[in-house]
Symmetry: C2
Subunit: 254 residues, 2 copies
């Protein structure tokens, strides 16, 4: 490791073996030294979950000039915690990148996302953190058309940082990017339809399935920015407080 | 079920068998009919995770006048989704309650919490939703001193609802409650320290462990309200957007 280059930590939720993380490693390597700790298995939909009732293990997978790759049995947030407390204890990274996720994390998908959970955890650890996702679930998709947009964002954050307690949720449309727009999180909901099946013993089981329903007209919302062919950059924070109702709720509940 | 009483749906993350959910069921039963679907096993720290790579099952556990209890193999958010799409498809609940959690969900604990994830999911489904937690991890603790505070909050929400996209994160101090204060989410972080052990084959494994570090001086923050002996009520929303930096980030990234 060259200690005079910035250190970039990378994780994701699609696993160490996904195609999306490989492109992110290639891009990050042009800016600095790279350390990866990614889940061994697919962790989509794991949100901000942490492993507390089972032990965790991690293994070194690869090492070459300017790069060390580890994989872990846990969730994306476990990966960030292990990296900060064990692997990178002596050298805090300048940047945390998560992704590139196969599937959009715009709108309320943020809350289900393991990719963005890792970003939030980095943000809580006071590291400038960015999640990248593409509106495409194909695990073999070629995301190289995103390279110049990702480089632009990474360079800007390495040069000028992010505000304390702020991280970025970046989403790209499938295939082509007209430009970048800063956006807010779009309102939406999922309409669930569980698929009912019978096991060979006659027992009933269900598969979670659903349809994403956008519920936002504002053109500067992230989901709508993607519809216009732009990449969306949503600055985010880990604060759920509904500040606009605080005063009114004091009258009701105190 | 008496169709003229409000229907209250209850879940949690400490499992169907926890003591906290039993008190919540007792309290809710004085207001309406109650349906429970709670996880079969402890789901603390599971955050907003959903089960997508494994099937789900649920079973009826109990039924009596005004009460039906189910338990499920999944996470708290799975419970809400199954309840809304399968069990309560014909009768939408007037209220969703989650808890009473054994352990505080004030401050950034919200993002790790399965209790509050169920509340957020109810909020996304447009149901008035409240999470209750107590600053005490003892699974045999007597939470009955919280009864009158919970009744007051439940009555207010049943009578007057909550704003669309707003839910409540209610936390109580251990042992005694001086009164209720509406609060915002306190800033804080966790300082991880993984405990390293060897298995009988000599392999290394780690247990996640850590210390909660409050990082907020404002006396109206939820964590500080609890320190003063009051119950905290934090109105929350599922919107991570850092609105205060949006304009500045447009100049930097567009």
């Amino acid at each position: 490791m060259l200690m005079d280059r910035p250190l970039i930590f990378i994780t994701n939720d699609d696993s160490y073996y996904s195609k999306g993380i490989k492109l992110l490693i290639d891009i990050a390597s042009s800016f600095g030294d790279v350390v990866v700790l990614a889940p061994l298995t697919q962790q989509s939909g794991k949100s901000h979950s942490i492993t507390i009732s089972e032990p965790l293990r991690f293994h070194k997978m690869e090492e070459r000039e300017g790069f060390i790759g580890y994989a872990c049995w846990g969730t994306p947030v476990d990966c960030v915690k292990i990296a900060m407390d064990i692997i990178l204890r002596e050298r805090k990274p300048s940047l945390l990148l998560s992704g590139i996720n196969h599937g959009s994390n715009a709108s309320i998908n943020t809350i289900y996302s393991g990719t963005m959970a890792a970003v939030f955890e980095g943000c809580l650890e006071n590291i400038p953190s960015i999640g990248f996702s593409v509106e495409c679930h194909d695990e073999n998709a070629d995301f190289s058309y995103c390279t110049s947009s990702i480089k632009k964002i990474v360079k800007e954050v390495l040069d000028n940082g992010l505000d304390r307690n702020v991280c970025l949720n970046v989403n790209f449309p499938d295939k082509e990017i007209k430009g970048l727009k800063v956006a807010h999180q779009a309102k939406a909901y999922w309409n669930e339809t569980f698929v009912e099946r019978k096991d060979p013993m006659g027992g009933t089981y269900y598969w979670l399935s659903g349809k994403f329903i956008p519920d936002e007209k504002e053109k500067n919302a992230d989901f709508n920015v993607l519809r216009q062919g732009y990449g969306s950059i949503t600055p985010m924070q880990v604060d759920f407080t509904a500040y606009n109702v605080l005063e009114n709720y004091k009258k009701r509940f105190e």
